[in-house]
Amino acid sequence: MKPLSLCLINMGARGLELVKSFPDVIPTDSMSQLVYKTIPMGSNPGDFASTTFNDLNLTSYIFRIPTADQRDNLASLVAVFNTTDYDATSIKQVFSWVVTELEKKDLLATSTLEGILPKLYKGFSKGQFKIEITSTSTIKFDFPKQGNDKNGNAIDKLSDDLWD
């Protein structure tokens, strides 16, 4: 289940904007439209969205992200695929779990997510990931096997708190 790209989107001064995509393979003109597909009108933190756009398929998780000295911002983690053959439920589980874990460790920040995006991308290919966020903090995730417990709760399968 290898995505074409993973993206981090947030609300900027003018509107929604791309913070980072990895790998950076989506053309700029497509990206400017894509960002508005990932957080639909009226959506709120905690919502998921799946849609198609041109020949791309998107699944996103919308969440609240703390911002220094300002109110919390709205952001989304997005997996972009060029096929419909992927398990959207697993994507949702991974994204919501990553955000929840970072929040628990008080590490949820745009810079942190930017930093882990490449490792998260590699994790999608391998079916598991282990990301060292700081020298003392690591998160691990094993993807549920496709076709097996598709609707199960990934959090039940997780290693517990993973502070080194």
């Binding site: 003018r14 509107g15 300002q70």
Partner: protein
């Protein structure tokens, strides 16, 4: 039974209002204060929030519009169907005062309905270094407006002025 329902419905008026203003002015926080009676932390609005407030004899559909530049081009379509507009200004953000003035003028000049009611909220009154109400009225040329309007000083954090402001607004509809 249906007669009673119809009678009840006929006594309940409906109004559509929009809440506009620059991003981070406090529009959604004000709406949340109206709903819950307390300060609620919010995130930027994605396009539009729609909420319904049920008051005695009045049901208000509130369209809370995102203030970022990319969303402002959709304001007009929603505003032109509104019975009233609430325009929220962060009175502590002097740096964006001119931008707020431009957006206010564009919003008001796009209105065709002369019966439109406009409530202007000078929000974040709990902050220091805020623009004075009298100076604001002069700078925004409110005395030249061809609509019924009022300005209230509010704080969505403390609740200051919010209920008085909306009492005036609601009284205009009932």
């Amino acid at each position: 039974m249906s007669f009673l329902l119809n009678l009840f419905r006929s006594r309940t008026k409906h109004a559509d209002i929009t809440i506009c203003g620059l991003d981070d002015a406090g529009k959604t926080t004000i709406l949340k204060f109206l709903e819950t009676g307390e300060f609620v932390e919010t995130t930027p609005t994605m396009g539009v929030n729609r909420e319904t407030l049920h008051l005695p004899n009045l049901q208000i559909n509130v369209f809370d519009l995102a203030g970022q530049e990319d969303f402002r081009n959709m304001w007009h379509n929603i505003n032109e169907k509104s019975d009233g507009i609430v325009f929220v200004i962060d009175r502590s953000n002097i740096m964006r005062f001119d931008e707020a003035k431009d957006v206010f003028e564009q919003t008001i000049h796009a209105q065709l309905d002369q019966d439109l009611i406009i409530l202007i909220l000078l929000n974040k009154s709990d902050e220091s270094d805020v623009i004075e109400k009298s100076l604001f009225i002069e700078e925004f040329k409110l005395l030249d407006l061809p609509f019924k309007w009022a300005v209230f000083e509010t704080s969505a954090k403390t609740g200051e002025g919010i209920f008085n402001a909306f009492k005036w607004f609601v009284d205009e509809f009932v």
